[in-house]
Symmetry: C2
Subunit: 198 residues, 2 copies
DNA sequence: CAAAGAGCGTAGACACTGTCTACTCGGCTT
DNA sequence: AAGCCGAGTAGACAGTGTCTACGCTCTTTG
């Protein structure tokens, strides 16, 4: 919306996002993206030196979308930090389970290891939000807020991954993520003693 | 040890394990494995109908090794369930961080989705150990032991993943996993009130 | 106004991949 | 001794990512 950018560069990214959403990650070959964009297989090279660079650009779009959904779920803070964290966790899980191909692409190790993704710009601010919410939801342990936030993030991420490919369903013997989400939040924030109960 | 199995089938698996350990997952092409095993590229087909089947066999080896290390770390139970869980978590993390290529291979979604891995036979017993330890470490909430164990597993797995490619180091701003491991255990088992208290 | 140039995309080659099929070769059974 | 069958070879095929040489079109410039 902000930038029309009708150029080929953005079109390749858009095609990639659509492709990974509808067909999954294995269909994100350089030549297939070029084909769907209606250009020859050599064209992307002008904008992305390598296939991995194009994939990284697509993944960045995913991180942007995730950040947006999480930010919207967190809201303005009128709900209180605990409910905000619950909404954050739910948004994270819903994104991961609703955009499985994109989520898989985003956390490919070979993309993350090179700093092509620029996580410092996209994801770190998101993590700071998490740290802040944790610090406000657990005012007691202030110094450890970063560690708790890190563990909580890892927990959400692990649930998203393991649930995504069915391992957790098999192990816990259920088909509802909600109990796992609740258990995760309660583990890191302490048991609920707010107005909500049951 | 139990089976010599000097046949080509087991040799291919062995070569694959060595290869993924030393060179990483991207070097696990069918032809490269065959090359290192000293046979033609068509030979593996006699034992593994497809490349994915060979990869799955290699990954199974990984799951076996992980199960063995975890079982050894858990020990015979003289240490008490809480220390056992700590040892389990540490073993899981050490395996993931020490065998990164193998760990990545083991949790590839396209391997997990097909039931080629036979996780019901290899990993589910391991999870039952976890459930049992959780139930004994938290005798209060007995019915939720499965859910807590699932959340704890997800937490360990998430820490392993995110730490493995450096995201957590960046976020939490540390270079030691130990605090994250401690936070994970304490979150799901409650604060330590044992003899140790540093 | 014509010519030079730069930006952008095309097209083919190369090495590599996974899969399929036809073939060969050695040891066993009958 | 003859036939057969397991086991591995070798080549073909479509597809991939990268590289290079080549056009086309539009703009700038002499």
């Amino acid at each position: 919306m902000s930038e029309q950018e009708t150029g080929l560069r953005s079109r390749l990214i858009e095609v990639g996002v659509d492709l990974v959403t509808s067909e999954g990650m294995q269909s994100l070959s350089l030549r297939e993206i070029a084909r769907r964009a209606g250009v020859s297989h050599g064209a992307p090279r002008r904008y992305f030196p390598t296939h991995l660079d194009l994939l990284s650009a697509i993944a960045r779009q995913g991180f942007g979308a995730l950040a947006a959904e999480v930010a919207e779920a967190v809201g303005d803070g009128r709900a209180g930090p605990r409910d905000q964290l619950m909404a954050l966790g739910r948004a994270y899980l819903e994104f991961a389970l609703g955009n499985r191909g994109m989520f898989e692409l985003m956390f490919r190790h070979d993309l993350l290891e090179s700093d092509r993704l620029g996580l410092r710009d996209t994801s770190l601010p998101l993590f700071e939000v998490l740290v802040d919410l944790v610090a406000r939801a657990r005012p007691a342990a202030d110094a450890e807020a970063r560690v708790v936030a890190g563990a909580l993030w890892a927990n959400l991420h692990g649930v998203a991954q393991l649930w995504g490919w069915g391992s957790l369903q098999l192990a816990v013997a259920t088909d509802d993520v909600e109990p796992l989400l609740r258990a995760t939040l309660e583990a890191h924030l302490g048991p609920t003693r707010g107005p909500e109960e049951g």
